[in-house]
Amino acid sequence: MIWGWLYQESGRISELFAWHLGLSTLPVIIGLLLAIPLGWLARHLGLFQAAFLGGAGLLYTIPSLALFVLLPLVLGTRILDPLNVVVALTLYSLALLVRTVSDGLGAVPPAVLQAASAMGYRPAARFLLVELPLAVPVIAAGLRVAVVSNVSIVSVAALVGTPQLGLLFTQGLQLHFLTPIIVGIVLCVLLAALLDGLVQLLANRLTPWQRKGP
């Protein structure tokens, strides 16, 4: 470790960290917002559910580097555009979260739904105020996986040149210099732990009944 280098480069490193944070969280947020209606749809399409979830799983098989390279072809963007990374990771997060949202909604006991209907909840209100909150623990588990693996996948985008912590790895190899590589790995793991903790904290806040249980 060469601490002088770290001090000298701290400005650029924090910039890369900010990029990394944005590139790994934004796709999860968009993915979740899309996955909630799609997960609901998957549950209510009956026969189509298997095909629907299978399609989402198929997306997950495409290697990340391949997706980063192919998306410009589809979107008409330039290869360096961070948008490619955002879209690719949104697709991954979506593929993972559609399944979790649909599983989470499926885990809500039917008796609870009947009780809510009997109390006069209309379908939309029942979904937003009863089903979704009760599905939070399962959805949060999926979110944790999505956010942690995103942090790791974002660094791969360094190979096409998108700015984020992964650039420290390519720089380290080119210069045969260990400090940026170690700094990059440590910051990636810290960021993953931080975001993972944040999701857990939010999930705890949203599910007060889980803490009071016996």
């Binding site: 290697p63 996986v145 790791s152 040149g161 790995i185 993953a192």
Partner: protein, 228 residues
């Protein structure tokens, strides 16, 4: 794009698609094999005795956060000087591939064994089967659907990461992407990406087929029960 694939020059010689594909499959196959050798016994042991579940699950989750690219680059610089020629980048890449594949296989194996209905195990014990007979005759076959799903995610991750390892001069289809980037040849990059994607699809399909062949028909109803 089509013209790239039609050009016979891209299909022959030492840098041709068949050679790169064979390299990609060779690295992935070796890594998967070694990962199975490490992960399966641990998974079977933890699942059967239910000891060490917390440790295994914790390690599996922590490894998910490690940035692969950083790990490969780190190992190349650390181990590179101690090995001659090709081994200097092949060995670090293989280590990382194995490291990535062990957690999903291990987790799926112990979860699969752990989820076997206790009645089935009790019945086998009542019939006088010994622990090892129970493990390989009852628990393992019942756990196969989940084990295959773990193998599937491990294999896809290996294929994906082997692509990345082309950056440290490993062969395989990733070469097309990395070299294409260096030469600003988008055609070649896209061709590499398509080939890698197709390879992943094909392997995914193959594992699905194997799982279909090996899982006992009586268990098929349960196979979608717990997604990993």
């Amino acid at each position: 794009m089509v013209s790239w694939f039609m050009d016979p020059e891209h299909w022959g010689g030492p840098d041709g698609v068949p050679v790169l594909l064979a390299q990609h499959l060779a690295y992935s196959g070796i890594a998967l094999f070694v990962a199975c050798l490490i992960a399966m016994p641990i998974g079977l042991y933890v699942g059967h005795t239910r000891r060490g579940v917390v440790v295994v699950a914790g390690v599996a989750n922590a490894l998910r956060a490690l940035p692969t690219l950083g790990l490969i680059v780190l190992l190349v610089i650390l181990l590179g000087p101690s090995f001659a020629s090709d081994l200097a980048f092949v060995l670090p890449s293989l280590i990382v591939l194995v490291l990535l594949a062990v957690p999903p296989i291990m987790a799926a194996t112990y979860a699969g064994i752990g989820a076997v209905e206790p009645e089935a195990v009790d019945a086998a014990r009542g019939m006088g089967q010994r622990p090892l007979q129970i493990l390989f005759g009852v628990e393992l076959p019942c756990a196969l659907p989940l084990i295959f799903s773990g193998l599937r995610s491990a294999t896809l991750q290996i294929i994906s990461t082997a692509t990345i390892a082309a950056y440290v001069s490993l062969g395989g289809l990733g070469r097309l992407i990395i070299d294409g980037r260096a030469q600003n040849d988008y055609q070649q990059m896209a061709a590499g990406a398509i080939l890698v994607g197709l390879l992943a699809f094909a392997v995914d399909l193959l594992i699905g087929l194997l799982s279909h062949l090996f899982v006992s028909p009586g268990l098929k109803r349960h196979s979608r029960r717990s997604p990993l």
